[in-house]
């Protein structure tokens, strides 16, 4: 087992998904107990005897044997998965049925089934994301609360409420029904997109947590891409978008852990393997006639990574991609990004003009980078005194210490003394 490999966390999701398929979604808590038990055994045994050669297989077999015990002991007292029904009643059919469910391909499908089940339309999006993280990615409530910078009690409540909805849904989502599958797929995309974004832009200051969330979103998106019904152009576009953003993660912080803007990043640190993956995924995403927001966002990310230096960026292309994105999914944040791109090409005065023209910009008032953008443009337009006020407003809204320090640097750079020296 490699150091830094989150084996237990990863396997937790696989095991819960598979056990829930056997026990039925109403017995989710039982599945979680069996998984917890398997980890206890692993912890006790491995610390004395070392990690077995194939730890994943060891955990899965342990979970399977515990599942068989539970089924034998409780099959008269409890009802298990309705779709397995009578197979569990006789010893002749029970063991082979369980064996089949623990086959590798079946385990992959179980994760997909659980992913779609977690994205239940009765759950708000943030609850879907929390549930995916908890059940499929093996994060504890405390770890999720820390990642989202939310209170433990509030997160506990959100997750237990979501679990209740899931357990009450009677049946796991049926991934064999192509119509239901296609109808639910956009919600699954959205949840994975939000999960990735939480890691990339989210409130948690700790970079390890952020990278973990991004990695989990990418792992689940790759599972989608490997399933015939889920391998749609939108899925590939989403995966591609994640790869291209994740490629820039190693350069987002400088050596002292401070946030770097896209212009100041050392581009040689971008992960060329992920750039290559992203490019492949973009090619796969171009196969249909459908153009989703993920396609456009991926194309924007691609335009950025294909510029060897910041000044080589094709801003004209980026502005026109933002126009497309605005048409598909209008939002003030997208409009703000478009204004920033436009200012790169046509100067700060044009940027200021565009920002002021954004409809419902009052919705941006609570977004720190709205004020930061105004500040940047004023600096570039040679009005540091005006810029200060904007950076101060941005600073008041900063969501984590890293953003705060980043904005403090910008603020310091437009203090009168520095500005005079620069001028």
């Amino acid at each position: 087992m490699e150091p830094g490999d989150h084996l237990f966390r990863r396997e937790a999701g696989r095991m819960v998904a598979t056990l829930t398929r056997i026990f039925g979604v109403h017995n989710l808590a039982l599945a979680e107990d069996v998984v917890q038990d398997a980890f206890c055994r692993a912890l006790e045994l491995w610390k004395f005897r070392g990690v077995p050669e194939n730890p994943s297989a060891w955990l899965m077999v342990t979970a399977k044997n515990r599942a068989l015990d539970v089924l034998r002991r409780e099959r008269t007292a409890r009802t298990f998965a309705p779709e397995l029904g009578r197979l569990l009643e006789s010893e002749w059919t029970l063991a082979p049925a369980v064996e089949e469910i623990f086959a590798p391909q079946a385990i992959k499908d179980d994760q997909l089934r659980m992913m779609f089940s977690c994205c239940h339309p009765r759950l708000p999006e943030e609850a879907q994301v929390a549930l995916v993280l908890h059940i499929l990615c093996g994060f504890s409530v405390g770890e999720i609360a820390a990642a989202f910078v939310s209170g433990h009690a509030a997160m506990e409540k959100r997750i237990s409420r979501a679990k209740k909805v899931l357990a009450g849904s009677k049946k796991l989502f049926d991934i064999a029904d192509a119509r239901d599958f296609t109808a639910r797929l956009p919600a699954v995309h959205r949840a994975l997109y939000l999960l990735f974004n939480e890691g990339y832009h989210g409130a948690s200051a700790e970079s390890a947590v952020r990278a973990d969330l991004c990695r989990e979103a990418m792992r689940l998106a790759a599972l989608l891409g490997a399933h015939p019904l889920a391998a749609t152009p939108a899925t590939f576009a989403l995966s591609g978008l994640m790869s291209l953003h994740a490629a820039r993660l190693p350069a987002r912080l400088d050596s002292s852990g401070e946030l770097l803007s896209l212009f100041d990043q050392d581009r040689s640190q971008w992960d060329s393997h992920l750039v290559g993956e992203g490019q492949k995924l973009l090619e796969l995403s171009a196969s249909g006639s459908e153009l989703t927001a993920y396609h456009v966002e991926a194309a924007i990310a691609w335009t950025h990574v294909s510029a060897p230096r910041a000044e080589d960026t094709d801003w004209g292309m980026i502005v026109s991609l933002y126009d497309k994105l605005l048409a598909i999914r209008p939002s003030p944040v997208v409009a703000l990004n478009r204004a920033i791109a436009l200012a790169q090409r046509e100067g700060p005065e044009r940027g200021l003009q565009e920002i002021r023209a954004i409809a419902n910009s009052d919705r941006l008032a609570g977004y720190p980078f709205y004020h930061a953008a105004l500040g940047e443009f004023e600096v570039r337009a040679g009005r540091p005194d005006l810029a200060r006020g904007h950076f101060l407003a941005a600073l008041a809204l900063a969501r984590n210490p890293m953003e705060k320090r980043f904005l403090e640097h910008r603020l310091a750079a437009c203090s009168p003394a520095v500005a005079r020296r620069a001028g």
Partner: protein, 113 residues
């Protein structure tokens, strides 16, 4: 050198898969460190937390556990140390203390007089 037995008592398994894994990795590192320094006579075994208790002239059999859950022995090791003080000192690195467990350090009786 004298011999001592460490009895590992209680200890939570960890609230999350990540915590359980970290806990396990700490144990492996701790055992390795003790072994490298020549203090491990026999690493010992983990014990199931269930079992039977056979007691009295009647040999009545009852189900375990035999103690409060927080005191159940989860495993043991055979340690070599200069004296009890050193054995106690060495036990302080045990990861069981992160999870509210305890190490009972017991000298093995010697035959010499």
């Amino acid at each position: 050198m004298s011999e001592f037995v460490y009895l590992y008592r209680g200890g939570e398994a960890g609230q999350s898969p990540e915590r359980a894994q970290q806990q396990m990795q700490k144990w492996i590192a701790w055992f390795k460190d003790l072994g490298d320094k020549g203090h491990i006579k026999n690493m010992g075994q983990p014990l199931e937390r269930t079992g039977k208790l056979v007691k009295g002239k009647q040999k009545t059999i009852t189900d375990g556990p035999f103690a409060e859950a927080k005191d159940v022995i989860g495993g043991y090791s055979l340690i070599e140390a200069r004296d009890l003080d050193q054995a106690v000192e060495l036990s302080k690195g045990c990861p069981i203390f992160d999870v509210e467990g305890a190490v009972e350090v017991r000298p093995v009786m010697k035959m010499n007089m």
